[in-house]
Symmetry: C2
Subunit: 404 residues, 2 copies
Amino acid sequence: MINSIDRFLSRSGKSTKRSAIREILKHLQKPGMISFAGGLPAPETFPVEELNMIIADVLRNEGAESLQYGTTEGEPALRNALAGRYLTSGMTIHPENILITTGSQQAIDLAARIFIDPGDYILCGLPSYLGALNTFLTYGAKLKGIPLDESGINPAELERTVDHLRQLGRKVKLIYIIPDFQNPSGITVPEQRREQIISIAEKYDLLIIEDSPYREVRFEGEPQKMMFELDHTGRVLTFCTFSKIFAPGFRIGWVMANPVILDKLVMAKQTSDLCTSAFLQRIIAHYIDKGLLEKNITKTIGLYRSRRDFMLRCLSEYMPAGVTWTKPQGGLFLFLTLPAGVNGEELLKRSLEKNVAFVPGSTFFCNNTGQNTMRINFSFSGNDKIEEGIKRLAAVIIESKSGK
Amino acid sequence: MINSIDRFLSRSGKSTKRSAIREILKHLQKPGMISFAGGLPAPETFPVEELNMIIADVLRNEGAESLQYGTTEGEPALRNALAGRYLTSGMTIHPENILITTGSQQAIDLAARIFIDPGDYILCGLPSYLGALNTFLTYGAKLKGIPLDESGINPAELERTVDHLRQLGRKVKLIYIIPDFQNPSGITVPEQRREQIISIAEKYDLLIIEDSPYREVRFEGEPQKMMFELDHTGRVLTFCTFSKIFAPGFRIGWVMANPVILDKLVMAKQTSDLCTSAFLQRIIAHYIDKGLLEKNITKTIGLYRSRRDFMLRCLSEYMPAGVTWTKPQGGLFLFLTLPAGVNGEELLKRSLEKNVAFVPGSTFFCNNTGQNTMRINFSFSGNDKIEEGIKRLAAVIIESKSGK
């Protein structure tokens, strides 16, 4: 029996490792556990009732087409519905500029596949979404983190870094950025800075991935234009998803890009999973066409705003001095900074014993910093669990500070 | 505006090209077109009525869980249902040995990702499923085709080839094989030969991908044991799908493999699309548990057998001398050999003008041979279209033979 497969593995196969965090988070099934760890939407926002009705319609009227193989690009009905939504919001996006993906994680994977050779550099925020970083690493990318200030990636720092890498003879390919309610920091990049970053990309001929899963979950403040809209040279690829505004269980996302780039993504998708479920795409298309998505987003925003506010109040009430946190205008996460010397990964082990979970912030830092940070999710748990969970967390932090 | 992205592309991005065939097949939308080209199941086999009922149940009883993110490995309900089916058929497969994928195309992609470095050799049948070959190529694999006889890949030829490549210092990683109703040849590999191939894999320490999308669509004859069952050293990975026995629009497949291999596939899947739709997985699990899948397979087999028989009769009646074809015991395709000198790709252009489509066999040969072959699908079209399509095809072949 083969027990070790090391001799068969590719560079990519060797580089994918089970993360320690993932192993720890297996304990989430424990009864009584309060989890602020995942980026899970609230099940209360899932449109169970409306789905019943829409699915019956789709099966009755489009059963044969929706259960058959679809085109790799995506169902015309959904691409049209998306283009229509953008038009309503003042953006002209042609359906041909949209590719439907199996969640926006697939978009990240396809982009890495067509652009990244081992050794190519990707610039990303310090911190940045772990799932994207891990995908980039399996393609052999080198990650270079750019520190964030209160408006996101610092452009001067970004330019210095590109310059420096160029001088070292490195191939810098793209900038990975989450401009709205960044995961995990919660920061939104102001429009002016988006333009500065695009200018740097133009100057150094880089591509930009605008990862945008949270954009529509805004509680307050003015929306900033998408980088896709601000870009005039076709170098921004934008990734969106229905996971946070509809339901992650559908695994439907979409990409907007320059047609030359989209074409390559389509070919990569074809070798990857042929096409995304036509059935699920058509259900969402109807859901949008009936105006139900906009209603669901309004409801979702209201619920998450109140949970964010409640969690912020609990933090103020229970956290010891020396702990600080973000107040994001949208999204699903708060980001906490602990007193220097407190280690998030150690803290997680203790927290799990007390039945409360979070993600240590260090996992989002590609340069092994951020040991004293943590990401906590406010969308999934109701207020009673939020209060109890923050109490437990505060107790563990206090214990830890006192060196027990 | 960026018009060329060549300077950004990875090796993989450069290697993916739009196939000429794919471009030609865009004409399938033409009114009046009869298509024997795709591997499309008959919509008559899609369980539209039963789905309505099952989906209402899933939404009512498991709405929150089914619309949420699922585990990367797959929903326990579906992995258990699959293990239960194997047990009924006499095979012990633990749910932990099963990974749910986004169609079996994703399984091909994940396996290539964890095993294939540029330059690694994969041995495959001449001909073999185009979609797998294309995926392997994007990972930089070198493909070496092994001629098929009436029982599939010839073991002596296989061993000679491995030996030869080894002597040249090449890294041979795996054998790709479709043992049941091979796409496109329709050949089923007898059990004894399966064992011979496994022995060769053991002797030379190779992995085997057993791609098995058609296995359950058997019209006659005795099922041969799966290579997964015959293997005792854990080197066979088996890929299955619900696309041909339920509905491709669900994009649900599964992999069975040695736990050490499965573990790596799970990690690769996580970076690829996080998880497959929990909603669709739970629907299929209920569909299986209610015994409906077995009924649907029986119905599907009956329909496809009668279409195969009818297409065979039409071929006998209309095809000119010098054209021969396979008589597969199952699956979705017939494979035709035309007189030497008739070119399948040229023939396709003429056929499309006459409103009938097929796939030129040459696309399935990794060594640019098979010019005088073609694959035709019998599952999708009803008898009236089958007869009219074969008439048109025969007319084009006769024309082509007479050099018009």
